[in-house]
């Protein structure tokens, strides 16, 4: 049984079809990359799975249970945590308090939440900054904190919405290491990125969306040679000239 199973999921905003009958499976311990050009519907799919939008059609199953249309907080309680493309840290709270909010997902006791938060901060390499106000962090640290908050909710599936985009090379390498470390601890990951270089080396499988449709799903090295994908990213002209060679 897959951990997450999305079946025939569609999401329409008025006449715009943001997601068109998407099927997706995430198995335990997998890292799945979700890529596609801007406006392909990646974040919409994310929001549908995480309970921020109700899907127009289709079902989302998690650990065998139907979670379609459940509100976001209940989805989180089920074990799906997400980060936001534009970081949403609680800027007037300290780094530790930010992560504690996440940790309270699994406990009512402040002492336990604090202990869990400290562990997560240590895991993410944020311990030295635990006393700082989150608003004063650099963008790289904010992204890391966003990650830590989600991790503190003790998820079985972590969904990262462009957690790496916008970081410099060193920061990117660190973030990639962190993602790998999370997987090693037994948490599956669904990764949205539109930077191919990041997704390809760490994903077990890559799914490509374009105009709301799934156009490919395969191992990373096969996806980059997929004609449809090249067309989606680079346009028909390049695709045509490539064929000519």
């Amino acid at each position: 049984m897959p951990l997450l199973e999305v079946q025939e999921l569609s999401k329409r905003f008025g006449g715009l079809v943001a997601n068109d009958r998407i099927n997706l499976q995430v198995n335990e311990g997998e890292i799945i990359g979700l890529i596609g050009p801007n406006g392909a519907g990646k974040t919409t799919l994310f929001n549908c799975i995480a309970g921020f939008y109700p899907p127009s059609e289709g079902t989302v199953r998690f650990k065998g249970e139907n979670i379609t249309g459940l509100p976001a907080n209940e989805v989180c309680l089920m074990g799906i945590a997400r980060t936001f493309q534009i970081v949403r840290v609680f800027k007037d709270m300290t780094v530790l308090d930010n992560v504690m909010v996440g940790a309270f997902n699994r406990t009512n006791l402040a002492a336990k939440a604090k202990q869990k938060a400290l562990e997560v901060l240590d895991f993410c390499g944020l311990s030295p900054k635990k006393g700082m106000l989150a608003g004063g962090l650099t963008i790289a640290d904010k992204k890391r904190l966003e990650f830590a908050k989600a991790l503190a909710t003790a998820p079985s599936l972590l969904m990262l919405d462009e957690a790496i985009a916008g970081l410099n090379q060193t920061e990117t390498a660190e973030a990639v290491e962190l993602v790998k470390k999370v997987r090693q601890s037994g948490i599956s990951i669904l990764l949205v990125e539109h930077v191919m270089e990041v997704v390809m080396p760490i994903s077990d499988r890559v799914m490509v969306l374009d105009y709301g449709k799934k156009i490919a799903e395969d191992a990373p090295e096969r996806v980059i040679n997929n004609e449809e994908v090249i067309k989606a990213y680079l346009g028909d002209k390049y695709h045509a000239s490539r064929r000519g060679h």
Binding site: A50, F52, P71, A72, N73, E74, C76, L77, A81, R82, F84, R88, V89, F90, K91, D92, M93, D97, M100, V101, G102, F104, N105, T107, N108, L109, A110, A113, K149, A150, T153
Partner: protein
Amino acid sequence: MGRNKNQWIWLAIGAILLLIYPLILTLPFPRHLMIMIFLYASLGLAWNLIGGYAGQISFGHAIFFGTGAYTSTLMLMKGGISPWVGMLAGGLISIGIAFIIGYPCFKLAGHYFAIATIAIGEIAQQWMLNWDWAGAAVGLTLPILPESLINLEFHSSKVPYYYIAFGIFALSILITYWIDRSKLGYYFKAIKGDLEAARSLGIDVTRYKFYALALSAFFTSLCGSFYAQYVLFIDPDSVFPLILSIVICLIATLGGVGTIWGPVIGAFILIPISEFTRIHFGGGGKGTDLIIYGFLIMVISIYQPFGVIGLSKLFKKKEAQ
């Protein structure tokens, strides 16, 4: 750890000073002044739970104050029930009202919530002005009963009122202190910080807003019942006016929202201003205190948006450097 220890020492000193205060200052006015400070500090602390911690600005808290005042008074007058029971009943009814207000209004974001609470406050006042059974615009004069703790009436001295007000004040601080350090406090702050992020971390946002408003309403209502027993006369203009809601909000805002001591500081600054101008100018100077409040709020919002308590943090930072 050293700072914590110091904190407790200061707290103990403060508590002792406040406990012996009415024994040293025996005139009625200083005692009355401190009773009002306790009352408004408690109101500010109660407002702070929903307005400060959870970030849902309410301009309708007079509803809960009035509900407390009217519930205990009506139960006493119509049923001869002890005001203490009435106080508790008022608190519970206020929680009920909080749910009725919260259900539609929590769907509104930011300023719209604040505007809705103004409207609901006005409706409540108009209702009470026309409700004959509850005294309508004439108000209710409480019966003079023999003084005792059970009757919650004391005529020969303000000292018992002083200690009861102190008790309510201390309880409000303890509750705030507990909330500040518990899951509730963290969730309230998260809701204030970012609604969507709060949701994504498993917080049932509407439920926790309800908790904040219910707690806030309950403690505001206790203050209302106490006020009725202290003044022994209530009418819709004294316990349901918009200006009361605004003063409660100002106290917390001036002192510093979302902190334990902010509303206390606010009350210690604003209530003496209000009481002294009342004495100085009498009825002709009505509103002088509000002019000064307005000015202080402007100064605070320009120079120190975190309230007076923000100043102390500023000093601490300088010390550290």
